[in-house]
């Protein structure tokens, strides 16, 4: 599903040039649940953004679903992204001015789903995330855990093939964090491919593979021993 070769990302500011990604090769297959770990500033988020088609790499190749997308325009990336990828962020990134329902509904609006179907699907995922009773609340009226559940609902409402999560549990206590992880595992079992950045070894081990990064490079990849 995802395959990169020699992926490079260089940030240029006025004075300094930061190489955030340095020749990164990763491959992720359909149905995998992959965790990315590494010290702060090593390039995890940068990689996730590129893989999530939010940003373009400075060099290298990126194959996403058989498209070579490294030189795609914003519009092309946007099209691929909204139909195939769902995002979960550490800081939830819900829109304060919209209700829970409206937040979750957004991706469906952008993929031009009809309003009746939108309502059904939003209700369905809110039910699944156990947020139905809060559908008319605003994000600031919710706890952190609840907000993240809404964010997850929004990420999956379009049934994306790929879910990208950047430290989804970073702002949550361990019990709320566990809930989110369980949801991700569940989604993975239902067929979604998941790529998650995390600082926590505990969380990382919910996946089936861990990619470790350092200074913009992938150092090791190891398969998690599934003990159940």
């Amino acid at each position: 599903m995802i395959k990169t070769k020699g992926l490079v990302k260089v940030y240029r500011t006025d004075e300094v040039e930061t190489t955030a990604l340095n020749e990164v090769d990763v491959e992720i297959k359909q149905g995998e649940f992959v965790s990315i770990m590494g010290p702060s500033g090593c390039g995890k988020s940068t990689l996730l953004n590129i893989l999530g088609l939010i940003d373009n790499p400075s060099g290298g190749e990126y194959h996403f679903l058989d498209h070579e997308v490294s030189n795609y325009s914003e519009r092309q990336r946007s099209n691929l992204r909204k139909n195939n990828i769902g995002f979960i962020f550490q800081s939830f990134n819900l829109i304060d001015e919209l209700t829970v329902f409206e937040n979750v509904e957004l991706p469906l609006i952008y993929t031009k789903v009809g309003s009746k179907e939108r309502k059904e699907r939003v209700d369905e995922v809110l039910e699944k995330m156990n947020m139905m009773h809060r559908r008319n609340h605003f994000p600031q009226q919710l706890s952190g855990g609840q907000q993240q559940r809404v964010a997850v609902a929004r990420a999956i409402v379009n049934n994306p093939k790929l879910i990208l999560a950047d430290e989804p549990t970073g702002n949550l206590d361990s019990s709320n964090g566990d809930d989110v992880m369980k949801t991700l595992v569940h989604l993975n079992q239902e067929g979604a491919t998941i790529l998650m950045v995390t600082h926590s070894q505990y969380c990382a081990e919910f996946g089936n593979r861990i990619i470790r990064m350092l200074d913009g490079q992938v150092v090791t990849e190891n398969v998690v021993q599934q003990y159940l």
């Binding site: 992204r81 962020f89 990134n93």
Partner: protein, 829 residues
């Protein structure tokens, strides 16, 4: 309640104390620097608004200062004349009858003095040595002039300079034409003798300063009234000859209302009602009301318009408010941005007073810079503004006004624009702001209201501008009933000659001109469409020969020769033109169509051949012409009687061939050569009628220009505000934009999303402004006898323009935001 008040007063005192602190100033400057865009917008917008207001203020001051320079201005009244025919008010003229002044002085001890002015009709050519010029605006005035008025006299004796016959006062500019620049006068022009119209002499008895711009009565020379008595016949017993502006000076402590109450009896006694229903009344009008509030018949000069001044005053205030509104809007917006900072400060221990002071200091700085900039703008723009208004306006920065005006504005600006954001911010709850919670969800009602207000004002002004220019275009394109183009008009010569000699002279001049192929027709007349309305005469006591005295009516009219109708291409509805061949035609008249009903004539055909009793002498109707616009389209058609008798022509009109290829200057050269052969002692002055006729619209054109400028300013300032708000809005919504983008929103969709709210406000503004503007402009249009009716598309077009401008302004910000990389905004949390 009682607890709140002292609390806030406390803040204020605290705030004012803090303004003084240097630390505050430093912080304020740093804050202003940090938000460069909004600071620039604030300063620039305020400066523009203030500059506009300063200009308007200057203009209003100028208009309100008319005739104030006379020491006794508040005790001077003009006596105007209302006249009634068949019991109905027929007219109200600015000029009165000559015996009125003396009669008032005789009957009423309240009258301290009076003075009469009467204009010289016809041509005035002055000659001194070999200097010869045609002069304008010569008036005869009573020797009591300086008892009433204070026109500044440079040389001469205020008491005696207008007593003897054949004496005159000259204004400085006129004197300089004949005696050279005043600085180089070795001996005074007083005592020198000037030849007038080659037939009489006037001795100069004094020099006046040029009549100030702000005098409703403007003259270039004043000849003693005694001269008039000798040369023009004695009007002093004539209660029907109203050619005399009459001003009375009431004694100090006389109650004008009480005096006015005595006038009806006086009128009954003095204006004898010879025929039942035909009588006149003298009416009092304060001198200081004349310029802005008087539009009577035969005004000395076109007066100003009080409503326009009042309207401009409103615009001026509104423009400043619009600019202050910008400050409030942007400052409040920024206040929200700074909520977190304020929260932190409060937690650390800052009290509300400190914060209020901080904001007031910023407002103070912005207002200060803006005022200074506005002063510069006014200085730079002054010449352009004077041209626009057509007057030299005294600067408001000259004189003592500036010492209270600017500080007051600064204080008012600081408090008005600084207080609201200051308290708004200072009352933020630190707990909420620190949590990042927005203050008062869904608010900004005030801000939205203010933006709507700004735009409504702009839209109304644009509609006003459009309507004014449409009306002007309509008037200029209307069929006037005569040919306006290709008319070269020459001021006719003055002459001593008898009628027949003059006519013979004119006929040979005409023959000579006929040899110039470019000239197609030639006519002569005592009035010209669009030229001085005073040239037209009004004669009362006119009725059909067979009718009773009660049917007497008053007609406007003038004298013309047979060429006039041809030159002006006027349409004969019945009968014939005057003819030089027919000696009986000196008693013939031609009516305009609208004169028929006044004489109870049915239609043009039946009028021909009938005889009119023209003030006692029989005149036969030989023709009827279609109505035409002698004056601008502001006025309705006037019924007129055109006469053929006499030779008091003031204008020769030459109709030029439409397709002649001759240079204008060559042609005029030829005409001038011919002229000097026949009228060697007369200056050659000419003009083209079309230029002249359209000058009647100058006042409206100016009003249009002024409003156009201020509406552009208003919309510019409103856009500055919109731009600032949009940039604020974009900052606040950066995260939302980023999220939406990640979720797949398109650029166009985002731009639409960001612009929608603003466009909605502008839409509401258009809905508010349109009916208001319609009402205002419809009222204005009622001033015109021939007017447009405002079409729906004016509103649609204006709305569209306003929306586009707003959309463009907001786009400058929203497009940038929509194109930005979402990662940056998402990370910022």
């Amino acid at each position: 309640m009682s607890r709140v008040l002292p609390d806030y007063t406390g803040h204020l005192i605290h705030a004012i104390q803090h303004i003084m602190l240097k630390n505050n100033l430093k912080l304020a400057i740093r804050h202003l620097q940090n938000s460069k865009t909004s600071t620039l917008i604030n300063v620039f917008g305020l400066a523009l608004g203030l500059a506009a207001a300063f200009f308007i203020w200057q203009y209003i001051r100028m208009e309100n200062s008319y005739d104030q320079f006379h020491d006794k201005a508040d005790r001077i009244y003009r006596m105007t004349l209302k006249f009634y025919g068949q019991g109905r008010l027929e007219g109200h003229d600015a000029m009165n009858v000559a015996p009125l002044g003396p009669a008032l002085a005789e009957d009423f001890p309240e009258v301290e003095s009076y003075v009469r002015f009467t204009p010289e009709y016809g041509r005035t050519v002055f000659k001194y040595g070999d200097q010869q010029y045609e002069e304008e605006k010569m008036y005869y005035a009573d020797s009591t002039l300086f008892e009433v008025f204070d026109f500044p006299l440079i040389e001469g004796d205020r008491k005696t300079c207008l007593t003897r016959p054949f004496t005159t006062l000259l204004t400085e500019s006129v004197a300089e034409r004949y005696f050279g620049p005043r600085a180089s006068w070795t001996e005074s022009p007083v005592g020198k003798v000037i030849r007038v119209n080659n037939r009489g002499d006037l001795e100069v008895t004094g020099i006046l300063e040029d009549v100030p711009e702000n005098s409703h009565l403007k003259f270039n020379m004043l000849v003693s009234f005694n001269t008039f008595l000798v040369t023009n016949g004695d009007p002093t017993q004539q209660w029907g000859w109203n050619d005399f502006f009459t001003f009375v000076l009431l004694r100090e402590n006389v109650d004008p209302a009480a005096f006015a109450a005595k006038l009806p009896d006086f009128n009954k006694k003095r204006f004898v009602e010879k025929t039942e229903g035909f009588y006149s009344e003298a009416v009092m009008q304060p001198l200081l009301d004349i310029h802005l509030n008087s539009k009577l018949g035969y005004e000395a000069e076109p007066n100003g318009d009080g409503n326009t001044v009042y309207f401009l005053f409103l615009i001026g205030i509104v423009v400043v408010i619009v600019a202050w509104v910008n400050y409030i809007n942007l400052a409040t917006a920024r206040a929200e941005e700074r909520a977190r900072e304020v929260g932190v400060r409060k937690v650390i221990g800052a009290n509300q007073g400190t914060l209020v002071a901080q904001f007031l200091t910023e407002a103070f700085l912005v207002n200060l810079v803006a005022i200074l900039l506005a002063v510069c703008l006014v200085q730079l723009g002054q010449p352009a503004m004077d041209t626009l208004v057509g007057k030299t306006m005294p600067s408001i920065f000259a004189g003592p006004t500036v010492w209270w005006l600017l500080p007051t504005l600064l204080l008012a600006g600081t408090v008005l624009s600084g207080l609201y954001p200051a308290f708004f911010l200072a009352t933020f709850s630190p707990a909420k702001t620190l949590k990042g919670e927005k203050q008062r969800r869904g608010k900004g009602v005030l801000r939205k209201g203010l933006v709507t207000f700004q735009y409504a004002v702009s839209v109304a002004l644009i509609i006003g501008t459009v309507v004014i220019f449409l009306q002007l275009r309509y008037m200029k394109n209307q069929d006037l009933g005569f040919a306006l183009d290709q008319q070269l008009i020459i001021n006719a010569p003055t002459s001593l000659d008898s009628d027949s000699v003059y006519r013979a002279h004119y006929q040979s001049f005409k023959m000579a001109l006929n040899n110039i192929p470019e000239i197609e027709q030639i006519g002569a007349s005592s009035a010209i469409p669009g030229k001085k309305y005073l040239d037209i005469d009004a004669h009362g006591g006119i009725r059909m020969m067979s009718a009773d005295k009660e049917k007497n009516v008053t007609f406007k009219g003038f004298v013309m020769d047979e060429g006039f109708l041809e030159v002006f291409g006027m349409e004969l509805l019945a009968g014939r033109n005057f003819s030089d061949e027919m000696s009986t035609d000196k008693d013939a008249i031609i009516l305009t169509e609208s004169a028929l009903p006044m004489l109870e004539l049915e239609d043009p055909e039946s009028a021909i051949g009938k005889t009119v009793n023209y003030q006692g002498s029989p005149r036969s109707i030989v023709g009827v012409v279609a109505d035409y616009h002698h004056r601008s389209l502001q006025h309705a058609y006037e019924p007129m009687i055109l006469r053929n008798s006499g030779s008091n022509y003031l204008y020769f009109s030459l109709g030029l061939a439409a397709d002649n290829a001759t240079e204008v200057s060559t042609l005029i050269g030829k005409v001038e050569q011919t002229w000097s052969r026949f009228f060697p002692n007369n200056p050659f002055n000419y003009f083209f009628l079309d230029d002249h006729f359209n000058e009647q619209y100058i006042a409206d054109q100016r009003l249009g220009n002024i409003i156009a400028i201020f509406s552009s300013l208003a919309i510019l300032i409103a856009c500055l505000g919109l731009f600032g708000l949009a940039s604020y809005m974009v900052t606040v919504r950066t995260k939302e934009i980023g999220i939406r983008k990640v979720l797949g929103a398109s650029t166009a969709g985002l731009v639409g999303l960001l612009s929608r709210d603003f466009l909605l406000l502008v839409g509401i503004a258009i809905l508010i402004a349109s009916p208001l503007a319609w009402w205002l402009m419809d009222t204005w249009l009622e001033n015109f006898a021939y007017r447009i009716h405002i079409q729906w598309w004016v509103f649609a077009l204006t709305g569209l323009v306003a929306l586009s401008i707003a959309f463009f302004t907001v786009s400058l910000q929203s497009v940038k935001a929509a194109l930005a990389n979402p990662i940056d905004s998402l990370k910022s949390e």
